[in-house]
């Protein structure tokens, strides 16, 4: 089932990661890898443990047990972590300065901001307050900040949530542009079509356990229920059949 290419060491790997909150298990010994330049989707119902897993992978929270290996990992939180009263430029320069001072990048903050404005295509909105931007554009700024330190692996927690199809399309064009430049990507989503369309590999977690790891086709075969055109409902009955 493991789709990882032999001989190629993963850019990021977690082994047997467990985490409990107040005695309730959020993750129970999960394995997860992302190969260099690979795009992995993480799907699963609400409360499955996706955010918990991604934040452990990003080193933001400590697992109770298990280990994480990987360098140059950047994390982009589910909700845009931006100051809505500040302009796009002010947000970018703040985080550019902080990353510079923290030694995560040697690039001059001003140069970094110019590069990120170019990358996000938001140059003409640079002096608008973030609060006045559309959800899609906010998410671009949010992701751009995650990219500042030039990570080898980018972790996106539900990047397209709340966006209309057109915005979602534009956001993914932006994200795939980054992947083309060599950045590996792991993203969580509730949208199985999104996972199928953009990810090379899909990992399904439910109730803190990894219940599937493979390509979209393998997932389709695994959940086969006589309605091959509707992966979503097949997926739901698959989850049900696995007791979730």
């Amino acid at each position: 089932m493991d789709a990882q290419l032999p001989g190629k060491s993963p850019a990021l790997a977690a082994r047997g990661v467990s985490k409990s909150f107040d005695g309730r298990q959020a993750l129970g010994g999960v394995d997860f890898e992302v190969g260099p330049g690979e795009v992995v989707a993480l799907i699963g119902p609400n409360g499955a443990g996706k955010t918990t897993l991604l934040s452990i992978l990003a080193g933001i929270s400590e697992p109770d047990s298990g280990e994480v290996e990987g360098e140059g990992v950047a994390w982009v939180p589910q909700q845009a972590a931006l100051y809505r009263r500040l302009s796009v430029r002010e947000n970018l320069i703040l985080f550019a300065r902080l990353q510079h001072d923290a030694g995560q990048t040697s690039e001059k903050p001003e140069a970094m901001v110019a590069r990120m404005l170019e990358l996000t295509g938001l140059g003409d909105r640079a002096d608008d307050r973030v609060g006045t931007l559309s959800g899609g554009n906010q998410q671009r700024v949010n992701i751009a900040i995650g990219l500042m330190a030039g990570p080898s692996v980018l972790l996106l927690d539900e990047p397209s949530v709340g966006l209309d199809p057109a915005q979602r399309e534009r956001l993914w064009t932006f994200i795939l542009g980054l992947v083309a430049a060599g950045t590996a990507l792991a993203f969580s989503t509730h949208d199985i079509q999104e996972a199928e369309r953009y990810a090379e590999r899909i990992v399904v977690v439910a109730e803190g356990e990894r219940i599937f790891n493979g390509t979209a086709d393998e997932l389709r075969r695994a959940v086969e229920s006589g309605r091959p055109d509707d992966l979503e409902s097949s997926f739901l009955s698959y989850l049900r059949s696995r007791g979730h």
């Binding site: 909700q79 972590a81 931006l82 100051y83």
Partner: protein, 447 residues
């Protein structure tokens, strides 16, 4: 950290309405509290020592004023506490049991009686006030002045009535008692009539001329002495007061009111600003991103305390200088009150951080800030003698663990020329800053 601080200042600048509210609201409240607040509405306590011989009547001209009447007059507006000696009265004032003492010296009676004589020697009442209570002191001063005014009015009325009786006796005639002897007085009017009656019977000549002169005198005297009655009421201040201040020199009313105003504004502004700003980090989801390898929680906390200290200091300084233009402050003591503002702002900022970190939402943080600040600060303004021991302990505790009281003490201490204890207040504020900082850091673990 400076970038975080810069960012918070930028956000503040972008929120002009909130900034205006944040500044104007506390200042309005502070002004209301600082100047409209008279510390308690209950009666002022005044120690009274009456050294006059007991129940000695102060009769003059048939009118009687006794010591008790003066005493009642004095005690109508204030609560009188009986003292047995001048020393005891003085102690009561020094200990704060009474805000002032009034002493009626032994010779008061004699002196009051002398008012009706040809050599008036007005009685001097001794007044002892405590310098160490502020608003109350001012109120007491006014009350004592009013009391004296009333006592004087009473005496003046009796005095003129008594004197008028003498005058009437001289004018109209009658009898009065003198050492148990009834003495008949003829009276000027009657004299004139009698003289007029006998005038025609007296043969013209020297005697007749003398008689005419006597008649003219009696007539003139009658006319003029009639006017003397009203003139006597002009004796309006028979009692003099001799005021002595005892106890520590305390901030004057102006200094105290300025201190309360500035401390109040500083508290509200800083606590609201920092609590809201801390909660904002979470509401904007920035906290996770910031702490993901960029800055430590302690650095975020320090930036917030820095923000509150800078903004709180600047605005309270503007307020203080603005007030100083109207009421006059000690510019020469600027280093002291500037220190007081900085330390107070830092302590409030630390308290605000703890509140914001614990409340985690801007609305909850704002509400909590108002709900905690207002009562705690008002409590620490209640004078100790106005409540029972249990509440007093609670008040002292509240004053000790919340930065309001030490900030107020530091500011008034800084403004007063003789201000003492500012260093102690600054130490207190430093400890509170540390304690609230530690609490905030603890709350940030589960932010």
């Amino acid at each position: 950290m400076r970038w975080l601080l810069l960012k918070d200042l930028q956000i503040l600048r972008r929120s002009p309405l909130q900034l205006a509210l944040l500044v104007i609201y506390p200042i309005v409240i502070a002004l209301l509290v600082g100047f409209a607040m008279t510390r308690d509405s209950e009666q002022t306590k005044v120690a009274l020592y009456n050294a006059m011989p007991a129940s000695e009547p102060l009769g003059f001209g048939g009118e009687e004023v006794d010591g008790n009447e003066i005493r009642d007059q004095l005690c109508e507006r204030v609560e009188c506490l009986e003292a047995d000696s001048t020393g005891q009265a003085r102690n009561m004032v020094e200990s704060g049991e009474a805000t002032a003492a009034v002493i009626l010296p032994e010779d008061t009676g004699d002196r009051i009686r002398s008012l009706a004589s040809l050599n008036p020697d007005p009685p001097v009442i001794q007044i002892i006030v405590n310098g160490s209570d502020t608003v109350e002191n001012q109120v007491t001063d006014d009350q004592i002045e009013a009391m004296l005014g009333e006592a004087n009015l009473l005496l003046a009325k009796r005095l003129s009535e008594g004197a008028k009786e003498y005058l009437d006796l001289i004018l109209q005639g009658g009898s009065f008692e003198f050492f148990g002897q009834e003495i008949e007085v003829l009276g000027l009017q009657k004299s004139e009539q009698i003289l007029k009656k006998i005038e025609p019977k007296v043969p013209a000549g020297t005697d007749r001329q003398e008689l005419e002169r006597a008649i003219r005198f009696a007539g003139l005297a009658t006319d003029n002495l009639d006017l003397a009655g009203p003139l006597l009421t002009a004796i309006s201040e028979p009692i003099r007061a001799d005021k002595v201040e005892v106890g520590d020199e305390a901030p004057s009313l102006d200094t105290f009111a300025i201190g309360v105003t500035v401390a109040f504004a500083l508290m509200f502004m800083t606590v609201l600003l920092v609590a809201g700003s801390m909660a904002l980090e979470r509401e904007e989801n920035a906290f996770t991103r910031l702490t993901a390898g960029l800055v430590s929680r302690l650095q975020i906390l320090m930036a917030k305390v820095g923000l509150g200290t800078v903004v709180g200091f600047c605005i309270s300084l503007i307020l203080l200088v603005g007030l100083g233009l109207f009421v006059g402050i000690e510019w020469g003591r600027a280093p002291y009150w500037l220190l007081a503002l900085v330390f107070g702002a830092a302590a409030f900022a630390a308290a605000g951080s703890a509140l914001g970190a614990a409340a985690r939402e801007i609305r909850a943080a704002t509400l909590a800030a108002v709900m905690i600040c207002l009562p705690v600060a008002l409590l620490s303004l209640i004078p100790d003698d106005a409540v029972g021991p249990a509440i007093e302990t609670a008040i002292n505790l509240g004053s000790a663990i919340f930065p309001f009281r030490p900030t107020l003490d530091a500011i008034t201490g800084g403004l007063e020329v003789s201000g003492s204890g500012i260093w102690l207040s600054l130490l207190h504020l430093t400890l509170l800053t540390g304690a609230y900082g530690a609490l905030a850091r603890l709350a940030l673990r589960r932010f």
